[in-house]
């Protein structure tokens, strides 16, 4: 997932989907200075990373942003670190307040 995010084109594609979900390849391609094939490659990578989900609507394929993997990182990692920092500050406060 971090590899998927570590590319400016892929981040741009995700931003476009964030602004409006359910876009076709043709619409996404219009936003990026790249060949259709290049955009397809990026979209495939994003889909494999679970960051986008595709759905067929007739003959077109619509792309949707899936924010859940990012949320999982938030819940499992970032929270853990901020919690520790907050706990550290709380300890410091208790410690300082104990002093006369």
């Amino acid at each position: 997932m971090f590899k998927a995010l570590a590319d400016p084109t892929r981040r741009l594609l995700l931003d476009r989907l964030f602004a409006r979900d359910g876009r076709t390849l043709t619409e996404l391609e219009a936003d990026v200075k790249m060949t259709r094939f290049g955009v397809m490659k990026h979209l495939r990578l994003l889909e494999r990373a679970g960051l986008i989900v595709t759905r067929r609507a007739g003959r077109t394929k619509l792309h949707f942003l899936n924010p859940v993997p990012i949320r999982l990182i938030h819940d499992r990692w970032i929270d853990k670190y901020t919690e520790r920092r907050v706990a550290g500050l709380a300890d410091l406060k208790t410690e300082l307040e104990k002093r006369p």
């Binding site: 409006r20 979900d21 359910g22 876009r23 076709t24 043709t26 619409e27 391609e29 219009a30 679970g50 989900v53 759905r55 609507a57 077109t60 619509l62 949707f64 899936n66 924010p67 859940v68 993997p69 990012i70 949320r71 999982l72 938030h74 819940d75 929270d79």
Partner: protein, 179 residues
Amino acid sequence: MTTTTPTTTTVQIYRVYIKATPQAIWEAITKPEWTKKYGYAPLVDYELRAGGTFRCYPNEGMKAFPNVPDVIIDGEVIEATPPRRLVQTWRMLMDPALAAEGFTRLTYDIEPVRGGVTRLTVTHDLTGAAQLAVVVAGELEYKGAGGGWSEILSGLKTLLETGAQLPFQSGFERDPRNG
């Protein structure tokens, strides 16, 4: 370059992979003893057949808030195929403006992948419910409205995989009596 026809869509799709059986996920979605343990921690009441009613009741912690209705979400079951697919209508009643947007359509697809992993896809068709779309996308989290589907599904994954509940329950402090 070809002409782009903008597709106006109001569908949101959320997907998560969970190391649990489809049956466990089905139960975690449809049984109140499970739903009170993750996400917004409501108590669901499903009549699991086509045409059956769906109601969602507030937990004790939520009831402490002012103006919380007796039923917080209602709807009708359209398709119930345990443990693989649940389609229903879904109307948020917590707020008069959201309730006025009417019924939306919600689909849970539960598919086994491999190695005991199951893929859960939530498709929420929010046609005609622009305000609700903002809420369920978690965009009002900074206002205390919770993280929407992302947070609910993260909580569900944590609960089924570890038995633990995420420390924070969206929007409302968790009532210890529920937990």
